[in-house]
């Protein structure tokens, strides 16, 4: 895993060089910003050529992307709203990744979290709404956490590969979700769109003051900040990174590797489950197939783009949200098929991921003196 190798490699020289080379941390941050930006430029240039070859005007295209994603308060809100669920599903990948685990089954935790939250609200008719919302959040967190913890358990206790286990469990989770929503938990009055009973208007999460944005954005940003603190500022986070860097060393140090694995998976799944709860409580008002919208899978990509750094997840989620928000405008104004933005996403992500190779290659960004 190069991502975890990175954090180890960058952390160690920083400690040594820090005393002499005071501007190194700033330059290191700059490097982490400059590389993906350069990649973004390169990808858009390549995509412009693609458009030219098709006889479309790249200028119009990028103008519309700007208009649709960031150009107005409405567009910006559109972008941020699309980014909101992705913040939490990306954490479901980024946290286990600190231990070197590749979890790609966040979708299952997300939908089951949403379902558990919707069901938890049912018996609480007439209870004070904030309390109901808390119970829903707890249910979502528990369901999502348990689902990914199952992957962690299989990994830690049985040695089953976590990537495969989480993927397969996501399919199973979605099947379970569909079975429950269209069977035992179905509200018979949900006619042509099978759903659970509604949680009630009173229990819905309202928009953030002065915006149309639901609180999921705020929750996601706070979660990212907290995770950053957990990973980079606590002993547990340090233990996790050591384990991710070198499993054998961690075991020799007596770190509880198995428990760390299960805990990291549970925490990641908890965030995905919370994401599902927010979708239910802020958007849908009930659990149904609308929850299966691929947020879990999009989260994988964002986490890797952010190199599993919770703070970097925020801009990457906004980038993906922005492309999604612009997609509609491109279809309408340029008559391009919806797949156009998928191609653009592909170009951008290939370039940003390839830009990893630039780290450490440009001398100016590297530590000076010391040694």
């Amino acid at each position: 895993m190069s991502a975890t190798a990175n954090s180890k490699a960058t952390a160690a020289p920083a400690a040594v060089a820090g005393a002499v080379d005071r501007s190194y941390p700033a330059r290191r941050t700059l490097e982490a910003v400059a590389a993906p930006l350069a990649a973004l430029l390169l990808a858009t240039a390549a995509f412009a050529l693609f458009l030219l070859a098709l006889g479309k005007s790249p200028a119009d295209f990028f103008d519309l992307v700007w208009q649709g994603a960031f150009g107005s308060w409405f567009s910006l809100q559109n972008t941020l709203q699309r980014a909101a669920p992705l913040l939490l599903t990306a954490l479901c990948v980024a946290i286990p990744a600190q231990l070197g685990l590749v979890i790609i089954g966040g979708e299952g935790a997300f939908v089951l979290g949403g379902l558990a939250a919707a069901v938890a609200a049912l018996p609480l008719d007439g209870v004070w709404p904030p309390l109901v919302q808390l119970v829903m959040a707890a249910a979502g967190i528990a369901a999502g956490g348990a689902w990914i913890a199952l992957t962690g358990l299989l990994r830690a206790r049985r040695g089953v590969n976590e990537t495969v286990a989480s993927l397969v469990l996501a399919y199973i989770g979605i099947a379970l979700f569909n079975h429950l929503v269209e069977g035992p938990l179905r509200d018979p009055s949900s006619l042509n769109k099978p759903s659970t009973w509604g949680i009630g208007d009173a229990n819905m999460l309202g928009p953030l003051p002065g915006t149309d944005l639901h609180p999921g954005l705020l929750v996601g940003v706070i979660a990212c900040l907290l995770c950053w603190l957990l990973i980079y500022r606590t002993a547990t986070g340090f233990a996790a990174r050591v384990t991710g860097g070198n499993l054998r060393a961690a075991q020799l140090q007596g770190l509880p590797v198995g428990r760390l694995i299960i805990a990291a998976c549970a925490l990641g799944g908890a965030f995905a489950g919370l994401g599902g709860m927010i979708e239910v409580a802020a958007v849908h008002g009930r659990a149904n197939a609308s929850l299966i919208a691929g947020y879990g899978y999009a989260g994988i990509l964002i986490a890797f783009l952010a190199r599993h750094n919770p703070l970097a997840i925020i801009p990457m989620a906004v980038l993906l949200g922005g492309i999604g928000a612009a997609g509609g405008l491109l279809q309408r104004r340029l008559g391009l098929p919806d797949a156009t933005v998928v191609v653009l996403q592909g170009f951008i992500f290939v370039a940003i991921l390839a830009s990893e190779t630039l780290y450490g290659r440009i001398a100016w960004f590297q530590p000076r003196g010391g040694r």
Binding site: N161, P337, D338
Partner: protein
């Protein structure tokens, strides 16, 4: 026919019909992973292969040219994956997901005009000519691609065991240090293995659009390319086991619809999830804790 018989015939038929794309993609993934690299992008390769194969068959009237074109498209996309991943520090899991997006995006973008037209389909071998019961006859009407896939599995098995090139792929996959000591060109071998693996995945896509279900549209793949990663672990990185894994997966996939025809109509979502449950149970039952998987290439990034 009795219920049990019906379901059995349906599962055998399903295994023969549905397994072929799984077989090709898992063989391709197996080759790539044996060289020490994982390619989650084979989902995108599969979809692109399906589109290109369909379009080529439509324009040339020759479905076999479509298969070749699907393989070439797959190899090109695989080469992008292999090329970018050979740069230092680039993560192959993440790149695979980006390639998956790029591949499906390109396939959908250029595939729009081919949803309506009907392209010539691959022929089938009527191996059930002797049978009188139509279900058996139909079940045994098998695509030649299935046998080509079988042949490819044996060829790959022989390739790994008995050829110099196969040995090199294995060394590169098991220990980059050893490969370097032997003076092998790691990047070039992995590039080759990734492109060749994706060419196989592209043929899997061609099967979807030119044989079964035999039609091009955007919902064509339901995750066969992603599941290949699971199938390869299941198969312990052995090409011959890939055949068994693909057959089991295909048969399990036929379970849902055929159970409904014999009156088991409740909980069909759960039956549809049968292949995944089977995969998970077999994985959990066969691996040993605290030990790397038998057969797993040592250089594989997901394998630590």
């Amino acid at each position: 026919m009795g219920a049990l018989e019906t379901v059995t015939v349906a599962m055998v038929a399903g295994a023969l019909r549905v397994s072929t794309p799984f077989l090709f993609v898992s063989l391709g993934e197996c080759l790539t992973e044996r060289s020490g690299r994982i390619n989650l992008g084979n989902e995108g390769v599969l979809v692109l292969g399906a589109m290109v194969a369909y379009a080529t068959s439509y324009h040339t009237g020759n479905p076999w040219l479509g298969v070749v074109a699907g393989a070439i498209a797959g190899a090109l996309l695989g080469a992008v994956h292999g090329g970018v991943c050979s740069l230092a520090r680039v993560n192959d899991v993440a790149m695979g997901i980006a390639i998956m997006l790029a591949g499906t995006g390109i396939a959908f973008f250029f595939g729009k005009p081919y949803v309506q037209p009907v392209a010539p389909q691959l022929p089938r071998l009527p191996l059930g000519f002797w049978a009188s019961a139509p279900p058996v006859k139909s079940a045994l009407s098998v695509s030649p691609l299935f046998f080509i896939g079988l042949a490819a599995a044996f060829a790959m098995h022989w390739f790994f065991r008995a050829t110099r090139m196969g040995l090199r792929v294995r060394i590169v996959g098991d220990s980059a240090d050893a490969a370097r000591a032997l003076g092998l060109s790691i990047d070039r071998i992995r590039l080759f293995a990734t492109a060749a693996g994706s060419a196989l995945a592209g043929i899997g896509g061609a099967f979807l659009s030119l044989s079964y279900p035999g039609s091009w549209n955007e919902g064509l793949s339901s995750g066969q390319g992603l599941m290949a990663v699971a199938l390869v672990v299941f198969a312990r990185w052995n090409p011959l086991n890939c055949v068994i894994a693909a057959l089991i997966f295909g048969a399990a996939g036929a379970l849902g619809p055929s159970l409904q025809t014999v009156g088991v109509t409740k909980g069909y979502y759960l039956f549809y999830a049968a292949p995944y449950v089977v995969t998970l149970v077999i994985l959990a039952a066969t691996v040993r804790p605290g030990r790397a998987l038998r057969g797993m290439p040592g250089e594989l990034s997901i394998g630590r």
